[in-house]
């Protein structure tokens, strides 16, 4: 294992954000995300996307959010591409 192998390639990760101006703190995203992406901010009384690295693009949170406050941006590249990555074709 090399240290560089432990660093995430940002092109392969999703980006998840909660717009604090829109969020109304209903906690639906926290309840519905099976991968624990969201965390409650007890001071601001809002949800935050604390662990976006866990997101699997199921879109359940966006579906449930009544305020349209959530944005899930798909990764640009597959997490691991079995055919192209070993040949260095995605580098």
């Amino acid at each position: 294992m090399r240290i560089t192998d432990l660093q995430d390639d940002p092109r392969r990760m999703n980006n998840v954000t909660v717009d604090p101006d829109l969020c109304m703190g209903c906690m639906k995203c926290i309840r519905t995300c099976c991968y624990d992406v969201y965390e409650w901010d007890p001071v601001k009384k809002l949800s935050t996307a604390a662990y976006p690295e866990e997101c699997v693009s199921c879109y359940q949170c966006m579906y449930f959010c009544p305020a349209g406050a959530i944005k899930v941006e798909e990764a640009k590249l597959a997490f691991y591409d079995q055919l192209y990555d070993p040949l260095g074709m995605n580098d």
Binding site: A50, E74, L77, Y80
Partner: protein
Amino acid sequence: MENNRITYTTDVLVVGGGLAGAVLAQKLHSLKPDVKITILEKGYFGYTGQTTKAGHGMCIMSPEAGDEIYAMCKEQVEHNPYGTYLNDQDYLLEYQKEQYTYIQELERMGGKFSHNPDGTLHHHHEFEGKKISAVQIDVDFMTPFCKNVMAGGAQILERTYFTDLLTKDGKVVGAVGFNLDTTEFIVIRAKEVVLAMNEFNPSCRDMFVAPATGYAAAYEAGAQLRNVEHLTEWDLCYRNTGNFLYGVHWVVSNSKGENIFRKYNCQSLEELEVTLIRGMAKELEMGNGPLVADFTQLPKANEGADGFFHGIEMKQRLELDEFIRGFQNIDLSNPKPEVSVSYRVSIRSLRIDVEGKTTVPHLWGIGQMTTAGSAHGSWVHGDGLGVAAKTGLMTARAIAKRIDESELGEIDEAQVEKFRRRIYEAAEYKGEFRPDHVIRYISRLIKKPEYSFNKTDATMTELIEELQDVRSKYKDLIHLPKVNGHYLAKAIELRTMIDMLEMMFMVFKTRTESRGCFSRLDYPERDDKHWLKWVLVDNKSEDGKPHIFTERIPIERYPFKPEGWQEIAMP
């Protein structure tokens, strides 16, 4: 790290509040209203779990098939690519005995299914001439079961992460875990413990990803795992995002316009065979990339077509793909999008008998945790909901029969303390990375061609050494950015992932053949003569390493046998 300890006492502890756990709890309560039930759930009961993701419906034996259970089971034994002939046929026959009537039982319990205007159950009829059919479930399928379970007075411990099973004299007497929000330490004493936590799937960034915690705990408590090598799956996906593209792998073409499915003589319209994957890899190596899904080769209608996805109108198929592409900003005007493959490997291997009993007294298993372990081998791909519901019902009946004689066991406080320390230990780690960094590293590592579609004894030995190396180093490599429930759980998931993967590849090495979706480069053929056997794992070896052994399948007394079984099966 000091933590508050809370101790609970119950009759039946159910770990995992997905469909299997909820159905079991509701059924058990209806049979035995005085039995105290506790459900331990790391998420929120009714919201989390794979059940909330399930797509096309619940498998049933087609009502058109009449009473032909034998014909149905024969299909499942002979054509199922997951462990062909590795079924426990006693289990399979018992499992299918109820045909589609279990749907009616679920309906009486509150489950909602789609109906025809005349009130009859709507189902998809037979698939591609097979006797399997499916019924569509409600989007909020979990809700009525959860409500009924709560109305029945079950205790629900949400946000509680189960970590270990408590044992005394080889019997299970309870469990421990911690609260994900408060990090409080939880100890539960129980007469019977049911594991319903779903599979172990190390594919990060995939909807099926699931930690190994449950299997690691069951293994440590002495339970046997069976058919660990059952589940390898490939799907076709868009190259840039890795999102799946179902049912069109037979139109994959190279840059010269050659159809790869035909070029490599592939057969299955349902599954991606290893010959197709190897063919696609070879085309890229030869410089014939990129690979595309050539939608212009799809027929406009499905007349006379065979295969699961051919049963769907091609027009709908194309509309669906257009919808998906639109969502992912993939150029819709391009009829030949670039494709690749996505690989998944998982363990559903807790060994159970037909009642749901594991090999450890007072420990039971239900749901997707057991699909390969029960060796029912039926519909392994696509019957997740059916297995969850049916095993929930079957095991509820079995526990109801026994619970009156069952007693609370003594807790071994030294064992509780050992587990407590192991949970909070990661708070002291001082490395540079987070646990999830190492998890993703391993998740990528095992997908490499030499460890997946081109694996051999030598490459697997190399991988096991690499996993052992990671095990020896990871505590120095990681730290928890915040000492909270999320990262404590990640550290546990990393530890158990390494252990279970090592075990998985040891089992892969043991089976020196290829069978259905399980394939090796060094043993490319199915070998019934030597491998009509189950590979089993438990912790009963002297040296502390996983104990791997085989058990002959009693094929002579089973109704479905491969050709030439007389010569090969007798001891």
